[in-house]
Symmetry: C2
Subunit: 200 residues, 2 copies
């Protein structure tokens, strides 16, 4: 037995969402049709409207339906600090951690020549224009601590090397918590990067 | 920091899906906007179309956009057997298990006077019409083995008691697998309902 064509089509469509397999897609489709038709209509309208209207901030490239995002519009941020992140989710994580008062630039990915993702795709021309304006004193390269994130950070630092800005990278090391659960790569990297310590 | 209003609205809208909390909703919204705009458009259109067009089979009340569902239309099912289930998902589970060749009737829930769900809400008038036509010889009451499912099965059997049909209920007992993982309620019920056994 299969469900009717429109229900099967809906189940298939739900598979586009991250982490949604056939069972979850079935549960979502039946849930909407059996119990949440009003909520389902709102969901359909929200998806369509967001996809239609949400674009990229002209200044930092984060997702927003306005020409400039709220953070770029804010007068209370430090224009001399610019944090480069791979995604809006990374940006949110840094904001929620608190302590950073500068501006952001969102790449929406990392360099990946093999997938055809070059400097322009991740907005490096716009980033260069921004730095060339002269207000930025330090660029915090907060790309992911992965091979691709590292390569992207190195590329950006070399590309912008002539503008006299400082570059920094997030500190690597063991996360807070119990050592026992830290993966080997992180642990050996933290070991190699060990810092002087005194009891003062 | 919050995301822009349309993105926040989209995250809120995703919460209507079963099992989707704030973190998952954020991941889904950003995923669609960052990487799956085409798939997102198809999803929005599928949800809207399904909610608009999918109704209930006139004969068995399962979800379908046609007047009659494929299973009710099929000439290869036994009209004398009628299996009553709470949901299309239960119906699918029974079909996938195989072995049942009769027809179905879908309640879309169970009796729950406290929530205002009475006999008509779960289609018992339509079920009675079906049985009154005289073709059905046995009604398999496959409502859930819960207090509400039991009560609904009892209600149906007493309501249809005058039509001379047999009633049956799915066998209860331990599921296949290891006893160790079976919950106490199921185990004590299986114990009380133990059956004679011989080595023949």
């Amino acid at each position: 037995m299969r469900f009717s064509p429109l229900i099967e089509q809906l189940m298939e469509a739900f598979r586009v969402l991250p982490g949604v397999g056939p069972k979850t897609a079935q549960r979502m489709a039946l849930h909407l049709l059996e119990r949440e038709r009003e909520g389902g209509k709102r969901l359909a309208a929200s998806i369509a409207q967001a996809i239609d209207e949400v674009g990229y901030c002209q200044r930092c490239r984060t997702l927003t339906e306005a020409p400039l995002c709220a953070l770029c519009e804010s007068p209370r941020r430090d224009d001399t600090l610019l944090c480069v992140v791979e995604s809006p989710a990374d940006q949110l994580a840094i904001e929620e951690a608190g302590g950073f008062s500068g501006r952001y630039f969102v790449l929406h990915g990392h360099l990946s020549p093999i997938d055809g993702i070059g400097p322009e795709t991740i907005g490096l021309d716009l980033l260069e224009q921004r730095v060339a304006q002269g207000e930025v004193a330090e660029v915090v390269l907060a790309t992911n601590p992965t091979v691709e994130g590292e390569a992207t950070a190195h590329y950006i630092a070399s590309q912008l090397g002539d503008y006299g800005v400082r570059f920094s990278r997030l500190a690597y090391g063991v996360p807070m918590g119990e050592l026992e659960y830290v993966d080997g790569g992180t642990l050996s990297r933290a070991f190699n990067g060990r810092l002087p310590f005194s009891s003062d």
